[in-house]
């Protein structure tokens, strides 16, 4: 019996634009089990960014329900949401979002600081995880001394270091050339083989094919199992 770690039921998100109410997500039903590699495929303006923000607990649904690790995510205080993000989610962004002043290792240590991990342990854990993504030699380098692919590996290491429930990637290959993008996808597949749960948001059907499951989001509606975008 697969372990259900994420469940959305009839999830609706609306935004108020002046007088007009815009419905971005129109009743999403989604379940994710531990060990899934889910690709969310959709064109821009489809609501996939909003879905990502809600999965990542950066935003909360207007109606419907969202359970993450058995906990209902709703309009909770910002402090509580930040703890949930720190514990449950490992973000990977299109533009890597590394802090330019910090070394690769220090960047990876950031979420551990907010988790209250002591310095010694932070160093050990960040070094271990950077070795895992193949950057043992580059730990002391700053982001501008690294290639795009290497920077995204640092970002992946940063997402992995807290051992979150879900790795949440937003167009992880969007800023990379095809070959480097391919290498990053190979790393994602390896992580999937190791049993990590991955949710990847993309507009690129070829990239989406790397997932074990694909859902398609169009105009705020989600449909499962459509492979030909």
């Amino acid at each position: 019996m697969p372990e259900k770690i994420l469940e959305m039921k009839n999830l609706v998100k609306t935004y108020r634009m002046g007088d007009e109410e815009q419905v971005v997500l129109k009743g999403i039903d989604l379940e994710i089990n531990r060990g899934d590699f889910l690709s969310v495929l959709g064109p821009s303006g489809s609501g996939k960014s909003t879905l990502m923000n809600i999965i990542g607990c950066l935003d909360v649904p207007t109606s419907g329900s969202y359970y993450l690790s058995g906990e209902r995510i709703e309009d909770l205080p910002e402090t509580v949401l930040s703890h949930i993000r720190n514990r449950e989610i490992g973000f990977i962004f299109q533009q890597f979002q590394l802090l330019p002043r910090l070394s690769a290792q220090k960047n990876v240590e950031l979420p551990l600081i907010y988790a209250g991990v002591p310095e010694k342990e932070r160093q050990l854990r960040s070094a271990d995880i950077l070795k895992r993504v193949g950057l043992a030699e580059k730990m002391k380098n700053r982001p501008n001394q690294l290639s795009g692919g290497q920077q995204q590996r640092v970002a992946i290491a940063r997402a992995l270091v807290t051992e979150p429930t879900i790795l949440l990637a937003d167009e992880p290959t969007g800023a990379l050339d095809q070959q480097t993008g391919h290498q990053i996808m190979e790393l994602f597949k390896e992580l999937y083989q190791e049993g990590k749960t991955i949710v990847m948001i993309t507009h690129d059907a070829d990239v989406a094919k790397n997932g074990s499951r694909i859902v398609r989001i169009v105009d705020g509606n989600l449909s499962e199992g459509v492979y030909n975008a």
Partner: protein, 390 residues
């Protein structure tokens, strides 16, 4: 977390060297001028009060002008003052003009001063050679005299005047000592003066009245009360007329000087702290720019699990660190400036622990006050908007 925040703050300040320095300049000037002014004024104050205190902080001086009916104080009036409580000693002065002569040579327009032992006990460096007038001289109305430096040089050429005779106003005295040479421009020039026991002046020379009195009080804190009691005795002595004398309480002069300089110091410090406020506004401006520039960093930190209050603390620490660095530099410059000025105008230079604490405390408070708004703005950024602003 705190250590990390301080580290990050320093890194950010160093990575924007020029901007950080220009921002700090306001704090540097502000703290520097406050510290310099306070130190200079307090140095000048202590110099002035030391000078006043060296004249005797425990003294009450009485100048007697007299009334048409009574031209001065009598020994009886002095004895009444001596009976008051809190009196340590009374030094009366009788002053007049006389001539001196020795061995056929004479000098005119010599100031004659009748004094007692109390005066000499409470005044430093009166004589340069010989001995002072002692209680026995006063008691016995002895014919002994201390002579001024000019008299010693002119009348006793090549001789030691001590032990020799001198004629003062035609009466023969024995010279027991020579007065300290005084600066020729000094107000109380005693180069052409002779001092004899005041009892001798009254009994032998025939002076009727005492012209001035210095009263030494035992407890300075009670000086005001004692002064009022003395005034009572004096007013009675002149039959209720209080125009016959003037009385000055040194302790109250000291207090007045201290009060005035502390008001001056506060006023100058207050004016200088306006520049601190301007500096603080500069800090706030830079912090606001910094928050805007680092919007995506703030968004990222929030996505990674930073609580709003952790973001707020980070920016607040950055502003406090910036102000503290500025405060320390400003403190150093202020102290140097105060030292230079103190040396130029010749006042004392003293750095108190409270000045150091004031400088550091002030800059930290400015950091908190003017960093609060930008830090709160940072902590309230919506992470989604913040992440989008790449």
């Amino acid at each position: 977390m705190l250590k990390e925040s301080i580290k990050m703050a320093l890194e950010n300040i160093i990575s924007n060297k020029m901007r950080s320095f220009l921002t700090m300049l306001g704090i540097i000037i502000g703290v520097g001028s406050v510290i310099a002014l306070i130190t200079i004024v307090s140095g000048a104050t202590s110099t002035v009060t030391d000078q006043v205190a060296s004249m005797g902080a425990n003294t009450v001086t009485i100048q007697v002008q007299g009334t048409p009916l009574k031209h001065g104080l009598t020994q009886g009036d002095v004895n009444k003052i001596a009976e008051l409580s809190n009196i340590e000693g009374i030094a009366p002065t009788i002053s007049g003009q006389t001539t001196v002569a020795f061995d056929g040579n004479s000098m005119d327009e010599i100031s004659l001063q009748g004094k007692n032992d109390v005066y000499f006990e409470n005044t430093e460096d009166v004589i340069s050679a010989g001995r002072i007038i002692n209680p026995i001289d006063t008691e016995n109305k002895s014919r002994v005299a201390l002579i001024g430096n000019d008299i010693a040089n002119e009348l006793y050429v090549g001789e030691n005047p001590i032990g020799q005779e001198i004629k003062i106003g035609g009466i023969t005295y024995q010279v027991i000592g020579i007065l300290q040479e005084s600066d020729s421009f000094a107000q109380a020039n005693t180069n052409k003066a002779v001092m004899i026991p005041y009892t001798t002046a009254m009994g032998v020379v025939g002076a009727k009245y005492i012209n001035s009195l210095t009263v030494y009080v035992a407890d300075e804190a009670q000086a005001d009360t004692t002064t009022r009691q003395i005034e009572g005795v004096l007013t009675k002595a002149f039959n209720g007329d209080d125009d016959g004398y003037s009385i000055v309480n040194m302790q109250s002069i000291l207090e007045t000087i201290e009060e005035m300089t502390s008001i001056l110091s506060m006023m100058l410090g207050g004016i200088a702290s306006i520049s601190l406020v301007v500096g603080g506004i500069g800090i706030m401006n830079m912090m606001l720019v910094s928050v805007t520039e680092r919007t995506s960093e703030i968004g990222l930190r929030k996505a990674l699990g930073a609580e709003p209050k952790q973001i707020q603390l980070q920016f607040l620490i950055e502003s406090v660190v910036l102000c503290l660095i500025g405060g320390i530099i400003g403190f150093g410059l202020g102290v140097i400036l105060a030292w230079v000025v103190a040396n130029l105008i010749g006042t004392s230079f003293a750095l108190t622990a409270s000045t150091v604490l004031l400088a550091i405390g002030f800059s930290a408070v400015i950091g908190v006050v003017f960093g609060f708004m930008p830090a709160r703005k940072a902590s309230r950024l919506n992470p989604i908007d913040a992440l989008r602003s790449i």
